[in-house]
């Protein structure tokens, strides 16, 4: 037939189309990942699984910091309709302007209208329950996400534990781990041990439907990454003792530091007045932050490690030992103490070291330090003093005075241990002698220490010549403390030089004429030293350093109460109550306790 061959045109056309399709199929299915990736984009949803932060225990295994649930309210901008807006604002109680601002923030944060973002960041369990009943009206545009925040069963040690915040833009730039809406510790242990506490965020891969519903996990969950819980920390703190110390310090301004001398573990660290850490949790902070941050008493400031005070007479203890170490005095060195050079409480007479410590003679130590500083190496006092002071400074530095501690929270201040160059700066080179600087001999003048320094000084005394760097964490997960805290730091090899001072410290408490008679504890040999720091601005500061028992000491307490007057009167009893509580578990003299608890230095009496 005429057009028979035209069938081949059709055959070729069919086969050609078939071949084109197969080539196209091969191109799409075999030779490119483009569509595979596109499918992933379309169907898969990656969800962050937040790891709960590590729990912080006290030394006895009691929970100091744990987690509790709070809620975030999320919104997906492109699912919100006009009706929602008005009704929603009324229900939640926010203005329309605020509503729009929040939604715009979400769009800006994710550069998308389709990605849900956090609309209200923190709702406590109770707050969420209030809106939960009406929330269904606004789903799925609005929905909640459970998060965890900190909770403090013992509402203590806020300055040590620190608090947690949502990450800032700077945090995210600094640490690539962080993503929007992560939490991070911003102070205290929370900050220092952030990497350990935060654990590891997990990822869950879900299949999502076209309308965004979850259709189960991708490939049975084989791609999912489990969240790793934050490592628990065991703190060196003793929650009960901390609680007790805070109670004693109520209505007093100052700080308490308690250390176990054998290990450098800090049992108690109080900065008073403080605040309730439960008020600084993510869901509560909005309500309380300004109240806490704007308080004139500077509640967020950690006096225990950051306040630099003159140590007062407690400094005499180390003066005595350094003097012996330098070989310029002995326990038997006798000085005339008649109050002629400096005001002195001791009855006029000639005294040796023991009595000088016991009764806190000022003149004795003034003369003792003169021997350290003015060694007579140079004819001129103006040359002799700078030389002697440098030697003294070298010895004193061994006690970490003038240096910050490598503490595991931020804020450890160095204090001030004056040296030759400092006085050269103040008075001019060659223009000062011992007589110019002598007030440092009794822990006044330029010398400044933090309560932590004073406590650490107590540790060296209790240990007769060594200490461990004070620290707040005993173990991180399964591991022990950081290496730096396991190193014994030898201050002095002249162990025997400590004995007469310690002997005198016991006399301070136990013997008639001692300045710390109020610090006695039945059946326990307490060694202590009072301090009363002259304060130009007001009442003297009351300072106290003690350790007990004398042999094999278990506890060192340093107490600093501002504007409380004589050291033995307020700081002493506080320290003794803490020691007694720790060593015996009870208080033998409730009257002493009552007197302390009722004393209010902050609110002046009517």
């Amino acid at each position: 037939m005429k057009y028979d061959n035209r069938k081949y045109v059709l055959f070729i056309l069919f086969i050609l189309v078939g071949i084109i399709f197969i080539i196209r199929l091969a191109g799409m299915q075999l030779f490119t990942n483009k569509w595979q990736n596109r499918a992933t984009e379309i169907t898969e949803k990656k969800i962050d699984i937040y790891a709960p932060r590590g729990i912080i225990f006290d030394r006895e295994g009691r929970k100091l910091v744990e987690n509790r649930v709070y809620y975030e309210l999320l919104a997906t901008p492109n699912e919100i309709n006009e009706f929602d807006t008005v009704h929603f604002c009324n229900t939640i109680g926010i203005t329309k302007e605020d509503f729009i601002a929040r939604i715009e923030k979400i769009i800006e944060d994710y550069d998308s209208r389709a990605v849900p973002g956090v609309f209200i960041q923190h709702l406590s369990q109770e707050e969420f329950e209030k809106i939960e009943d009406v929330l269904y009206e606004f789903r799925p545009a609005f929905f909640e996400r459970a998060r965890t925040e900190r909770f403090y069963p013992y509402p203590v040690a806020p300055h040590v534990l620190g608090y947690v915040s949502m990450v800032s833009k700077e945090d995210r730039e600094r640490d690539s781990y962080f993503k929007l809406n992560d939490q991070t510790g911003v102070s205290g242990l929370e900050k220092f041990y952030e990497k350990e506490l935060r654990g590891r965020r997990g990822t869950q891969y879900l299949i999502k439907s076209a309308v965004g519903n979850d259709m189960g996990s991708l490939d049975g969950g084989v791609h999912d990454v489990k969240a790793i819980n934050g490592s628990p920390l065991t703190s060196t703190l003793d929650a009960e003792l901390q609680l007790y110390a805070e109670k004693l310090m109520e209505n007093k301004v100052g700080a308490v530091v308690v250390i176990e001398p054998k290990t450098g573990e800090i049992l108690v660290s109080v900065s008073s007045p403080g605040y309730d850490p439960n008020k600084m949790t993510l869901s509560q902070r909005n309500k309380y932050y300004s109240e806490i941050a704007e308080d004139t008493m500077n509640l967020l400031f950690n006096k225990a490690i950051s306040s630099e005070y003159p140590p007062g007479s407690t400094f005499k203890l180390i003066q005595a030992i350094v003097g012996m170490d330098m070989g310029v005095i002995t326990p038997q060195s006798s000085f005339v103490c008649d109050g002629s050079l400096i005001g002195d409480h001791i009855a006029p007479g000639v005294y040796q070291m023991r009595d000088a410590v016991k009764s806190s003679s000022n003149q004795w130590f003034l003369l003792a330090m003169k021997k350290m500083v003015q060694q007579g190496k140079f004819y001129s006092h103006f040359k002799d003093a700078p030389f002697g002071l440098m030697q003294w400074h070298k010895e004193m530095s061994k006690y970490n005075f003038g240096k910050a501690f490598p503490l595991d929270i931020e804020g450890s201040k160095p204090g001030l241990l004056p040296d030759t160059s400092l006085y050269n700066k103040i008075h001019g080179k060659g223009r000062w002698a011992y007589s110019t600087i002598r007030s440092i001999s009794i822990g006044q003048g330029e010398v400044q220490l933090t309560p932590l320094h004073i406590a650490n000084m107590g540790c060296v005394l209790a240990n007769r010549g060594y200490y461990y760097y004070p620290h707040f964490v005993k173990s991180i997960g399964e591991k022990g403390p950081k290496d730096i805290y396991r190193r014994k730091i030898q201050v002095s090899d002249e162990r025997t030089n400590y004995f007469p001072v310690i002997d005198a410290m016991q006399a301070v408490v136990d013997e008639a004429g001692g300045t710390a008679r109020l610090a006695r504890i039945p059946d326990i040999a307490v060694c202590a030293k009072t301090g009363t720091v002259e304060n130009k601005k007001g009442e003297d500061h009351s300072v106290f350093l003690a350790f007990a028992p004398r042999e094999n000491p278990k506890i060192v307490v340093s107490v600093y109460v501002e504007n409380a007057g004589f050291g033995g009167l307020w700081a002493g009893p506080i320290a003794s109550l803490i020691m007694e509580k720790y060593l015996t578990g009870k208080i033998s003299d409730p009257k002493k306790e009552k007197r302390i608890l009722e004393k209010d230095f902050i609110h002046p009496e009517e």
Partner: protein, 442 residues
């Protein structure tokens, strides 16, 4: 009298088996695309895959009855069937619109699309008309007649409107080509398509002529280039042809240039002034002149992602994550986009298999048509092949992103009872006519 056996004696079992194979693939796929809850039986009435099975059974029964008919009876009732289908096409315009189309007669859960029936009826009518004594394709009158037979249902379908089915009626061009229509029409169509597409590209790429670049842009630049080509052709004719043909050739070049220029202008005008925004968007997306994977290009993009993510072996039966009824990423995934699900679940292997089966099917139909002594059967056979081919071309082409998105089902695979029945009738009629090929000379 013929024995009962002879009803099936000359039946083309090969064709029937390919049909059966596609039916089975279709049923498997319908089951996957209808699996809403995942807990239902393989075929359950509640999820729609059972309904499809009922339609398949019904199609077989009707098919069986078709085999019992006399071929001459089919031939004689061609015009009658054609008339009925026209009547239905008119009547359906008075039905309520579904998705903006008045194309369905609904009887409770069962629906019938008259345009499906019109395909078969038109094929029969064209065959009948062209085999009428004294009708020759070369006559202008005949051409007009055939054009009318095809154009009337096509026009009624435009009114629904159903652009997909309209395209199917283009299939008859190939049938007429086989019957003697000049191949130039196909060539012209091809040129027109190429020129049209080039014009759109020119408009978008900011094509401009080397001189007067500020003035001659877009389609004007196209005409400029056509003019250059014309000049070159003119020179070539002058130099390389014999003098006595020269005048004819030169006339062709000039007319060609004028027609092409007018065509380019018309395309540009139509595109800018006649087409609506959504038409333009669709065309631009298809030509890759625009990208909007989550908006206007949603369907095509999702479909291609579904196919592309199938890989070599596919994700497994009922394991599609995109073209899945519960996930719903691919719209119309049970009907027009059913091939997506198949492709995603059975990968390159399964997808290619379906393409090869279709090609074999089409070639088989043409072969059957060619072995007829009856022109009626041959024309009908060609019509069947070409109708199926257009469906195959547009549907899979659309899913693979190489044809524009047009709503048109993939025969036997897409879910849809009346569509399956219509395609089955198309095939059974062919099988019947073919089985009588030795009987008489019609």
């Amino acid at each position: 009298m013929r024995s009962q056996k002879s009803y099936f004696a000359n039946m083309d079992w090969g064709l029937f088996f390919i049909y059966l194979l596609l039916t089975i693939i279709g049923l498997i796929n319908v089951n996957s695309t209808s699996n809403y809850s995942g807990h239902e039986g393989f075929f359950s009435l509640s999820n729609g895959s059972g309904m499809q099975l009922i339609w398949v059974a019904l199609s077989f029964v009707i098919g069986f009855f078709i085999l019992l008919l006399e071929s001459t009876f089919i031939q004689k009732t061609s015009y009658f069937l054609y008339g009925i289908s026209l009547f239905m096409l008119v009547a359906v315009l008075f039905m309520p619109a579904i998705n903006g189309q008045k194309s369905w007669f609904g009887f409770g859960p069962v629906g019938i699309q008259p345009s499906e029936i019109a395909k078969t009826a038109t094929a029969l009518a064209v065959a009948r008309y062209l085999t009428t004594i004294n009708v020759k394709i070369d006559d202008f009158k005949t051409k007009l007649g055939v054009f009318a037979i095809i154009a009337i249902p096509a026009f009624l379908i435009i009114l629904q409107p159903d652009p997909g089915t309209l395209l199917v009626f283009m299939a008859f061009t190939f049938v007429l080509y086989r019957e003697g229509l000049s191949g130039n029409i196909l060539m012209f169509s091809l040129f027109a398509i190429v020129l049209g597409v080039l014009t759109l590209f020119a408009e978008h790429s900011g094509l401009s002529a080397p001189i007067l670049s500020g003035v001659l842009t877009g389609y004007k630049a196209m005409i400029f280039y056509l003019f250059l080509i014309g000049i070159v052709a003119f020179m070539m004719v002058r130099s390389f042809t014999r003098k006595r043909f020269r005048k004819r050739y030169l006339t062709t070049v000039v007319i060609g240039f004028l027609v092409a220029s007018v065509f380019v202008g018309v395309v540009d005008f139509t595109y800018d002034r006649v087409f609506k925004d959504h038409h333009r968007t669709r065309i631009e997306l298809f030509l890759g002149l625009q990208e909007d994977p989550d908006g206007e290009d949603y369907n095509r993009n999702r479909a291609m992602a579904a196919v592309g993510s199938g890989g070599f072996y596919g994700k497994g039966f009922r394991a599609a994550t995109l073209a899945s009824p519960t996930h719903g990423h691919v719209p119309e995934q049970e009907t027009d986009f059913a091939y997506c699900t198949w492709s995603e679940e059975f990968g390159f292997l399964g997808s290619t298999a379906v393409v090869i089966i279709f090609v074999i099917f089409l070639i088989r139909i043409i072969s059957i048509a060619e072995r007829q002594r009856s022109r009626f059967t041959r024309i009908y056979g060609y019509s069947v092949a070409c109708i199926l081919f257009i469906h195959f071309l547009i549907n899979i082409g659309m899913i693979l992103g190489i044809a524009p998105v047009v709503g048109i089902p993939l025969p036997f695979i897409s879910k849809g009872g009346s569509s399956f029945l219509a395609f089955s009738i198309l095939i059974f009629v062919l099988i019947k006519l073919d089985s009588d090929r030795k009987e008489v000379l019609r």
